[in-house]
Subunit: 662 residues, 2 copies
């Protein structure tokens, strides 16, 4: 079938456009505009720069590609299909349909070759910074003279929407500071968003802005394949700055009535305009989802190239293994996510009264030397979060081998970066800030859960118990609002032993993010010191059995309030009320237990009181009466606030007795 | 008592420092560093520029002052006290104590003269953009030749932390685009954050960055009172750009061992260092909280100046009232928050099957012409949110009279701006985006609730019902996670009539933010058309009574799922199960009803099933069985997704019968 384009490049680019238009048209839903405008730059990147292996999407040293503008998913699906990933044409025909591998926005769990879920704007960009941190850190700790076993780029395509989101600014500032030279973003500057021209709201000088962040910036014609190629080559040469390539493009290129307009952004073209667009681009009208052989075979060179690249890397790794057997062993284990067992043996136990942020610090001090491929830090609250790794350097431009990450007051970019490091593989990552600021990073927390990415975030100062800083800093609804995210494990230990057990849970998690909620204030040691096999692993457990086989009453508490449940039990028992105390550090894990186990912990029909210094809404699932707080807090010393708001053994006793009608 | 400072200015500045140090020391908690370093610039602003009236903190045309760096609260409390606000010295002595007017971070509800709650970084800065929008809009719609009845500045002080937060970047880009010439920020650039020098993570060129946003930028010595004065004077002359004054300061100035170090940021100086600092600054050691008479009387000139400024304005308003009686009437009513009743008469009723985003659009079309001092817009989703005001212009640099705000893809800055416009007074404001993106703006939503600021946010596409866009865009946990915020009214109407009633609730709200959750998909009209007096005002109500006096079963549903409850009732009744259907558009309002009313809606002991296309966790409070979704969604057409995940009458029937053991 004759094609009216004169060159192979144009044929390939138009093949992407054709598949993308047809996919959106078949679904009558989706975003044709971005794939049509960004096809040239994506083609240039994917055929001339990206080193990947379609037959092994998990090849460790592959270049990472992140489509931050996830709404342009048909661009990515077209590329994956054409270059030979396990994504048959039939899947492209089922774009946005139930059970397909081609959802509306890219999802790493569904589609081979999709590095991460994107769509919520800014997330792809910010997470990419994590990928680049991971590459830089692994290279710094593993590479040796003559042995560059870790050596790849992180490429991305981002959009106007990404550029407006705050998380992008945080991440860009951080990446510029850290000098992440192997991070390269193409900015699809098409001047159009859903509501019209970007002129209606987005008139900043983005070139100047990125220069201000310390990036290497180029401005090019994004419709010119060779210009893109040259810019990428230039960017790859810059070793000490991330690169930002502002590529001017035409959204919906080829659609005679819609190119360059908002109409082509997020709607199918419709049969008539699709026909005109195909005619304009020289794409045959039939068959739909047209793949000219010449284009396919050119794209598919990725398969042989990929095999070759991976083989070369395998040889490198073999030579490295020869010369540096210990390092190679650690690298391979880390890639496999095998953290050994030495860290488990090192888990400390506790007997002293300590804030859980302090006991968790002691846990980290004990286990982190045995987990050398863990990296993390704080959003400018190291002293408060107590997550600074001892005897370890900071990850700075001149010291990418450092394990301590100073994220700055950028909670959102922090969690996105932690996600990126974790998704990269070879490393596990953690971040930390106050629990209240979980609100600032919620979109990235949710994405971790959705991607089944086991990010670890240490939230401290987890309630009104933080005291004087007052209601702007006191969590009320945060515990509940985090627990309600699917696949999110919120861990609120009651003491040091539970903190130790919770760290074990977090390190061993493979597909669930773990969020610590730790106290600022000191808490007594109350739970078993069997930290390697602690009942906390079941999420909730009987901490103090009732005096009778069938309790009259159950008190279920978490974190800093477990002590009040234990004290209240004594009073209640003294009054003849047989009371079972349950510690519930993780409702997520508890909910997964068997019905029989749950019946032993929270027996049906037994009056149950929950005690947690937070909102009560989430506790109706487990209890009938509540010691909680459903209004904002107050600024005053911890003991005063806690007492004024009813977090005392006396009040627990009163609430329990009221529930029992005593 | 002799003071070793040679000038009145220095005496005044050191008085602020002394009060701030003593306040923090008395509490043994707080942040002395910022007040000590920023005292000169604050003094210059407050005594030479700020037009305010300490005896009437609500004087409408006052300059607004926002301390975005809320942790420096003692600076603000010192200024308020010294200039004559109703904040006695005794309150400063009770800094951070239970029941005082001087909480750890500023709270508008507690302290006269505090415009807004600050502390969560970036919020003050971003909210200030809203204040400036409000001033510009009111000036544009009310001022007439010779009558500048609205004419004030919005000043702020921000910190390094503010500058790193993403919301600040969003807001700064928006403010630059909008040309908000009367917004002036002093940036307390002290080079220090909690974890150390800003060099460890924050090395961007902030001057260049703000120029890129389109701001007028100056760089000065922030310790030089006259330099600050000159910079402010210069900034006030710039009419078409917001102003950013980078003021280099020394954190903890005067503390011999701690100035310029992180140690002075967030801890009391301690008795010894405090003594040395006072000696260095020439502040007498006794009494503590020392207020030299000369300083006080100089600061207190604000009282007579304020009275004079307000009198002048009263005269202006009188002349305006004379010449423009209709406009003056509207202005006064809007300042009083009196929106009249014409809009209530205009509330439409509905009989057709319509998406609630569409019926809500019809409501807005009907009422907004009667609410001329309402202003708002969308975060680049006007076409989807359907919140563009008909026959109204956009608020753009050349048209500040426009009522339609193009916020850009900046959800967080949008809500902050809505808060600022609303807190400014004289206007009510709304924003809109998809419900999933409530995660992006959560810190500002929380702050609205904390400030008792009745912001209105219209969230559409409120569940998996949005279909093809898939799990990254499908809300699951959002409804619950928003409802659990104290003082937050989430409104999820079932049809157009409820949407009409919910808009009435939102407009009439005076101290609670209202969040709409609206469907993308069409919903049948099911509820009464008595929209002026709709039972939805009680939050939850019996939509379909059971066939028997005492129902066998209650189905409680919200929004798009109410239709399934109604359909399921018919099947259940046909099988002899007397079923009451409850529509629950607002759990917030329902929870406020009397026990007797609640017993009539959700009678105790009657098996109850909740039906909502969202997480079940929040429904255990009201029901024992659940039709909900506790995992992420999927990309497919709406009807398919809804059916696959069990949102059908058949499944509601099945769940109800299982609960009843039938």
């Amino acid at each position: 079938m004759p094609v009216a384009t004169s060159t192979l490049d144009a044929l390939c680019v138009n093949t992407i456009r054709g598949l993308s238009m047809d996919g959106v048209q078949a679904a009558n839903s989706g975003h044709p505009g971005l794939p049509m405008g960004a096809a040239p730059m994506a083609y240039s990147l994917w055929t001339r720069h990206l080193r990947h292996n379609p037959k092994d999407p998990h090849w460790f040293n592959r270049d990472r590609f992140i489509l931050s503008a996830g709404h342009g998913s048909m661009l990515l699906y077209s590329l994956l299909h054409l270059t030979g990933y396990d994504l048959p044409l039939d899947e492209l025909k089922k774009f946005r349909q139930w059970g397909s591998k081609t959802p509306g926005h890219p999802e790493n769990l569904l589609t081979p070759g999709v590095e991460m879920a994107t769509g919520p704007l800014g997330q792809g960009f910010a997470t990419s910074v994590g990928y680049a941190i991971a590459e830089a850190h692994l290279a710094a700790i593993f590479n040796k003279p003559g042995h560059d076993v870790i050596d790849h780029y992180t490429y991305g395509i981002c959009s106007d929407g990404d550029m407006m989101e705050g998380v992008t600014s945080e991440a860009a500032s951080l990446a510029g500071h850290l000098g992440l030279g192997k991070l390269i973003f193409l900015y699809d500057s098409n001047g159009i968003t859903i509501d019209g021209s970007t002129d209606i709201t987005f008139t900043e000088d983005i070139e100047m802005r990125f220069k201000a962040y310390g990036w290497h910036v180029q401005k090019i014609d994004g419709m010119d394949i060779d210009a893109v190629d040259r810019a990428l080559t230039e960017a790859e040469k810059i070793k000490d700055k991330p690169s930002f390539i502002i590529a001017r493009t035409i959204i919906g290129y080829g659609s005679p009535h819609r190119e360059g307009t908002p109409e082509v952004h997020g709607k199918a073209l419709g049969a008539d305009e699709l026909k005109l667009a195909k005619e304009a681009l020289g794409i045959p009208l039939e068959p739909t989802f047209y793949e000219p052989e010449d284009a396919v075979s050119h794209f598919r060179e990725a398969v042989s190239n990929g095999a070759k690249w991976q083989e070369e890397w395998n040889a490198k790794l073999a030579a490295y293994t020869q010369d540096y057997p210990a390092e190679a062993k650690l690298l391979k284990a880390s890639i496999a996510g095998d953290w050994g067992t030495a860290w488990i043996d090192a888990l400390p136990t506790f007997t002293d009264k300590l804030a859980t942020r302090k006991s968790a610090e002691a846990v980290m001090d004990a286990i982190m030397p045995h987990l050398p491929t863990f990296i993390g830090g704080s959003a400018d609250l190291w002293e408060s979060n107590m997550t600074h790794l001892k005897d370890a350097k900071q990850f700075q431009p001149e010291s990418h081998e450092g394990r301590n990450l100073a994220f700055g007051i950028r909670e959102h970019a922090m969690v996105a970066a932690v996600n990126g490091i974790t998704r990269h593989g070879g490393l596990r990552a953690f971040g930390s800030t106050f629990l209240i600021f979980s609100d600032y990073c919620r979109p990235s927390l949710r994405l971790a859960a959705l991607m089944e990415c086991p990010s670890i975030i240490v939230f401290t100062h987890d309630s009104i118990g933080l005291g004087e800083d007052g209601p702007t800093h006191q969590s009320i609804e945060q515990l509940t609002s985090l627990r309600v995210i699917p696949n999110m494990n919120v861990l609120r230990p009651a003491d040091g032993n539970e903190a130790s057990a919770c760290w074990k849970i977090a390190v061993e998690s493979t597909e669930t993010p773990c969020l610590f909620a730790l106290s600022r204030q000191a808490l007594p040691a109350l739970t078993p010191d069997t930290v390697k096999n602690h009942p906390a692993e079941k999420g909730g457990y009987v901490l103090r059995p009732a005096s009778k086989a069938k309790p009259d009453c159950v008190l279920v508490a978490t974190g800093s309030e477990v002590q009040h449940a234990v004290a209240a039990k004594d009073t209640l028992e003294a009054e003849g009320i047989s009371t079972q105390v349950v510690s519930m550090p993780s409702t997520f894990l508890y909910d997964k237990q068997s019905a029989a186990y749950k019946e032993s912990v929270l027996p049906k029909g037994v009056p149950t009181v929950s005690i947690e210094a937070g909102a009560t809404l989430g506790w109706y699932k487990y209890a009938q009466a509540f010691v909680g707080i459903d209004h904002f807090g107050a600024s005053a010393p911890t003991e005063v606030v806690m007492k004024e708001f009813g977090f005392t053994p006396e009040n627990v006793v009163a609430v329990a007795k009221k529930l029992l009608g005593r």
